[in-house]
Structures are given as C-alpha cells and as structure tokens.
C-alpha cells in the first residue's frame, strides 16, 4: 500500500511528518514562495498520487498547510485524489454568449485555480484600493491540499446552440427519483466547482477569489459545504473509511483509486467510449444533497440500523462477516434468501456483487454537511454526495434505480444537486481547462462555414 499521507510535493521520499518538515526546510520553507520550489520538485509527476481508497478518513497531523496537489495533468485533480477534510460544491450560472466569451471564462478559471492550488504570496496593492486578496489566509497563501475541479452542466450546452452538439452523450439535467424532494434553489447549474482542502478556510478563500475574478461571467446559484471527521493521529495502522452523519463508515466498498487501470475503466472517459473526442480524460460528476433525518435515525434500534445498511455500525464489517473488518467482501451468493444481509439492505442493492454489475461501479467522494435548523426544529444535516464515473447512466443512475424504495429512504431525503461533466485536465501551463472543447467547437464551426 502506498503512503497514506498526502505530501505529494515530497514524492515518495518522505514517509512521515518530521521528514517532511525537514524536506520543506531544505527547500527554503521560509522563503517568499516556498511552494513554487516544491512544485518544481514534483514536476515529473503529472498527477497527485492516489492513496488507495478516496474515502479513507484523513488523519490529523498527517496533513499540513503546505500539502500541495498538483494542478496540471491530463486529468483534473479532485477526482481520484484522496479526499481531504473539507469540500464544497458551488454551482453557477454562466454568462457567455459566444465561444470567445466561454474561452475567456475557462482561461480565467484555470489561471485562478493554478495559482490558488500552488500557493504563494497574496497579491497586494495600493492601500487606497480594495485589497486584491481577501486576506483570509494571511500574507502567504498556503495550498493546504486545495483542489479546484471544474465541471459543466447540461444547461450550459442546451441553452447555447453553438455548444449543444458538443454535449457529452450522457449528460442530462438531473431528473427526480421517487424519494427526491428537489428544491429548485439548490439544483442544477451551468458550471460547478468542487473545491476541497485540508481546511474550510482554504476552500472558502478559493471560492471568494474566483467569485471576485469572474464576477462578470459567473453568477453564483447555490453552494453546499461539507466535511469529514478526521481521525486522531496514531489511531491505528489500517485505514478506515470516514463516518457519515448516520454514524456508519461510508466508502468501504469504494474502488481503489491507486489502481490506475481500474480508474481508467470506471471513472475516466477514455478514447474508446462513444463520447465526443474532447471529453477524453473527463468524468461524469453527480452531486446530491441528501438530507438525513438524524433525530429519527438516532431513535432507531441499532440492529435495525445495521439491517438497513447491511453493515455493522462500529466496525463497518458486512453482516455476513461480522469479524472480518469493513473491507471484507460480502458473499451474497451464499446468502440468497437474505438471512444475513437482507435483500434490500443498502449495500446489497447498491452493489449486488453479482459479477454482471462491474461496469456500474462509481467512485464516491462525499462530505457530511450540517446547515442549521429546519422549520420544524430539526437538525438540517446530511450527505453532500459526490461521485464520479465514466458512464453516468450505467453508474449513478443505474445504482440509484436499484436503490429506489430501499428501507433507508425513510431516513433520507435528496433535496438538491445536479449532474455535471468534469472537464479533462489542463496538461501544463500552456494549456487551460476546457481547451479541447473550445477547439472542437471552433473546428466544427469552421467546417460548416466551408
């Protein structure tokens, strides 16, 4: 197993915190722009090093403000990147009535994301001017494992005749499932940003920077922040999945993000798929804001909770192998009547492990959210569910259709979110996010004009 800490700037040469500090010191940590040098040291690795399961709980003290997730690469960061403690989705309406306008927006977003994720000195100006940086992170912007992942919604394509023909084949407006109570104020969008970081402040700083720099083209529609519980340091060697607000470990069956071939099959759109050529290296992103009725859940007997989920609550072990740990694979074939794991248990419906559903796996990357109090005086808490897949229909939609009517529905209510397509990455500083799409549109229009 690869190193569990997230110090991609240090490559594989440093295996612990102490070592990393020494390493950063050697790089000139106190110098004006420490991260640029760290970035150079990492130039040969195009992608952040995946860390086994994306959903493993982050470990306190194993992360620091100087953690840097490389921005450039053939694929965007923030998808197979190990999930840090904080994440948010911000959804925007786009004002861009021409291909030039859209290119300008993509270039500006790329420029901001590249800067924010690598860090450096906060820009300053004449004090009579509004400061160019919010100052949230102080005079030095530390990357804090920040990722900014750009994705596009169906409406961006549908509302612009010059773009419609280039829409990814399976990108659609999220339709209601039977248990949904979608609130239109927190649904859909032309463009989404997934912003993740070790700290909430780093993510919010990035959001405010982007809003400030793109105000003429991006109108904020909704946002949802979330986080995951961080494990105490030294709590044990084996990785464990972080818990959701139902108190269960969430992500035990998530595919291994360090298996690059598996990721190519499940997560990334490859050249062989019947998708527009520009979409190669992208991924379908599903966002669901799923409210959990936590008071009611907390008044539900433990055995019933475990039956509904199909797992032991504390250990995360599948019910047919209670002593085997959370990563054990349940053997449903030996339990055809559902005596150990009920046939409608959440994990059994979601992933029947029947062999024929290999294609319908998804890579989950969720965060827990806690928003306040409902009109009825209950906690407004739940899951900011995010997942990635190469095929939206065979991925999330197929899984959700199997889950429709599951007993868990009594305790959860999807209220918002949307479907988006995460763009391929920006290869290097000469490239920008969305460049292949822009080129495809230009090529298409020059072809028709000849």
């Amino acid at each position: 197993m690869r190193s569990r800490s997230r110090h991609s700037e240090a490559g594989g040469s440093v295996g612990n915190n102490h070592g990393r500090r020494v390493f950063l010191k050697a790089l000139g940590f106190a110098a004006a722009c420490p991260f640029a040098r760290a970035a150079a040291a990492n130039a040969d690795s195009e992608r952040p090093e995946p860390r086994g399961r994306v959903t493993d709980a982050p470990v306190a003290d194993a992360v620091t403000a100087s953690d840097r997730t490389p921005f450039y690469g053939v694929r965007q960061a923030g998808v197979t990147t190990a999930r840090p403690a904080n994440g948010m989705i911000a959804s925007f309406d786009v004002v861009a009535e021409s291909i030039d306008g859209l290119e300008r927006l993509f270039r500006r977003l790329t420029e901001r994301a590249a800067f924010l994720t690598s860090g450096g000195l906060a820009p300053v100006a004449d004090p009579r001017l509004p400061p160019p940086d919010s100052g949230l992170l102080g005079p030095i912007i530390r990357p804090d494992a920040l990722t900014v992942t750009l994705s596009l919604g169906a409406s961006l394509f549908d509302d612009r005749p010059w773009l419609t023909a280039h829409k990814p084949r399976r990108l659609s407006r999220m339709a209601r499932f039977p248990n949904d109570a979608l609130n239109r104020r927190i649904c859909h969008g032309d463009l989404a940003l997934q912003i993740c970081a070790n700290t909430r402040d780093a993510a919010l700083h990035a959001l405010r920077d982007i809003i400030k720099h793109c105000s003429d083209q991006l109108v904020l529609k909704w946002k949802q922040e979330g986080d995951v519980p961080v494990l105490a340091p030294g709590s044990g060697a084996p990785a464990e999945s972080a818990r959701n607000f139902l108190g269960f470990r969430d992500g035990s069956a998530n595919p291994d993000a360090s298996d690059l071939d598996l990721m190519d099959r499940l997560v990334w759109v490859g050249p062989a798929r019947d998708e527009p050529r520009w979409a190669t290296g992208g991924s379908y992103q599903v966002v669901r804001i799923i409210r959990n009725f936590v008071e009611r859940w907390d008044r539900t007997p433990l055995r019933e909770q475990e039956r509904i989920m199909g797992r032991a609550k504390m250990s995360g072990a599948p019910l047919d192998k209670p002593d085997a740990g959370e990563f054990a694979v349940p053997d449903y074939a030996s339990d055809p009547l559902g005596k150990l794991t009920t046939l409608d248990a959440h994990i059994r419906l979601a992933n029947p492990r029947s062999g024929g559903d290999k294609e319908s796996l998804i890579l989950r990357r969720p965060f827990n959210y806690s928003n306040g109090v409902t009109n009825a005086g209950q906690l407004d808490q739940g899951l900011l569910f995010i997942c990635y897949q190469a095929d939206l229909e065979k991925g999330f939609i197929a899984i959700q259709n199997r889950l429709n009517g599951e007993p868990l529905e009594e305790y959860i209510k999807p209220v918002g979110g949307g479907y988006f397509f995460a763009l391929p990455g920006a290869r290097d500083v000469s490239d920008y996010l969305g460049s292949a799409l822009i080129a495809a549109v230009r090529e298409g229009s020059s072809r028709t004009s000849h």
Binding site: D93, V95, D126, R128, L129, K212, S215, D216, L218, V219
Partner: protein
C-alpha cells in the same frame, strides 16, 4: 534663521510632493462635487413633490392613483440612496423592508414606502395607511432639510457609485425590494442612473489615464440599459416577475462587475 526656515519649507515640500497627486485630484473634484450637490437637491425636490402627490392619493383613498405613483416617486430616492443613507434613522423610516423588522409587516417600526406598498398591493386598500402617509411625507421633507446644508464628503460621493451597485447586487436583483408591487425594475433604473451620474461627473478627471477602465464600465452600463429597455412600458417598467431568468443573470453579472470595477473609483481619483 533664514536657512532654518528654508529647510523647513523644503521638508514640507518634499513631504507634500508624495501627496501632491492626491491633493490635486481632490481639488479637481470640487467642480464634480458641487455639480453632484445640485443633482442631489434636484432629486430631493422632486422626491418631496412626488411624495406629496403619492401620500395625497393614499389619504384620499384613491388606491389606483396611489399605486400608479408609488414606483415613479421612489425613483428619485433610489438615485441618491447612498447620500440618503448618511442618515440611517431616516433611511430606515423611509425605505426599510419588512424583513428588517423582527415582527415583519406587523412590526410597529415598519414604516415608509414599503409599509404603504404592503397595504396598497396586499390589501388593495388605503385603510390604516393615513399615519404612514403623513410620516413618510414628514420624513422625506426632513431628509431634504438635513441634506441641503450637508457638506458632501468626496469619498462618499465617489464611493456612492459602487454603493449603489452593491445595493442592487445584495438585495435588489432578487426582486425582494418591492415584493408586493414588483416594481423593482423602476428602482433599478433609479440606482443605475444615480451611479452613472457619478461616473459622468468624474469622467473628465480620469478619461485619459483610465480609458480601458471606463470602457469596461460603459460596456456594462450599456448591457444593463439594453437589457432593461426590453422591459420598458410607458414611463416605466413592467413587473419584475416578467424579467426572464436569462436576463436576470445578465443583469446580475453586469451589476457584480460594476460593483467590482467601481470599487476602485475612489483610489483612481486619489481619494483615501
């Protein structure tokens, strides 16, 4: 002594050299500020006059006439809102909204334009509005009195352009301002006109140095004008509810960008 005085003068000259640009520009602002003062008093005169007619209709029980006068009367106030807001007691009495008050519409401190709007549109009646009408006329008259003798601080005047855009961006673009009458587009017009007036007054001072900046600002004002003109009806505008989602986005983006750009106007004029 002589050399000493010379040195002191020299030091003073050196110190002031650093501020020279700012001072020159502040002097240059004298003309624009006094022009703006005239603009403000004209708006205030019109506000008082229009409010007399509006509150007169309310007190006469003429619902239709009162409704027709509501939006045009407010426009003068909206155009000079940043100056009116220098007096927070009056601004709150004249222009606060139900959600500024703990008990919303039922709150006794909820007075002014929106309290009367609530009665006219929600209850389609002038019942119980007499005292609010009297108070509104008193308050706008008092506002004019206070502003007449008020020296206008240059940074408030210049900053007013951005402040107007912030108002629209923060609480108006959503249609929350005139929630009973949906006459928000009239208010927008007043806010944009008031902001554009300030840009026009200072334009000659920065026309050469800030050509690109002014072009960007003009582009966004033009975008707003073109969008709003689609919704023109008679002397004013159709209901906010008829504003399309696409046009609302265009307005929101232009307003946000103007708020960003105009937030630098003070510094561009050397104001601190």
């Amino acid at each position: 002594m002589k050399s000493m005085r010379f040195l002191t003068a020299l030091a003073a000259a050196l110190i002031s050299a650093g501020l020279a640009r700012a001072e020159t520009v502040t002097l240059d602002l004298v003309g624009p500020i006094s022009d703006y003062k005239i603009y403000v008093s004209e708006k205030l005169d019109k506000l008082v006059e229009d409010t007399k007619a509006f509150t007169g209709a309310v007190k006469a029980g003429d619902v239709a006439r009162a409704k027709a006068l509501f939006a045009p009367t407010r426009q003068s106030y909206e155009a000079i809102e940043p100056i009116a807001e220098l007096f927070s007691d009056l601004d709150s009495a004249i222009d606060s909204r139900a959600d500024d008050h703990e008990k919303a519409e039922a709150d006794p401190s909820f007075t002014g334009f929106h309290r009367i709007e609530f009665g006219l549109w929600t209850k389609n009646s002038t019942d119980g509005l007499n005292s609010f009408a009297d108070k509104l006329l008193n308050d706008v008259t008092e506002l004019r009195k206070r502003i007449v003798d008020l020296p206008l601080p240059p940074e408030k005047v210049v900053g007013g352009a951005a402040a107007l855009m912030e108002e629209v961006a923060a609480t108006k673009i959503s249609g929350e301002e005139d929630r009973y009458s949906h006459t928000d587009l009239w208010d927008f017009r007043g806010n944009f006109d008031g902001a554009y007036k300030i840009v026009e007054l200072v334009r000659p001072l920065i026309a050469q140095k800030e050509e690109d900046f002014l072009k960007g600002v003009d582009d966004n004002f033009n975008r707003i004008n073109a969008t709003l003109s689609k919704y023109k009806e008679g002397e004013g505008y159709v209901s906010y509810e008829k504003l399309s989602e696409a046009d609302r986005k265009v307005l929101a983006a232009a307003v946000n960008k103007l708020a960003e750009d105009l937030s630098t106007l003070r510094a561009k004029l050397g104001l601190d």
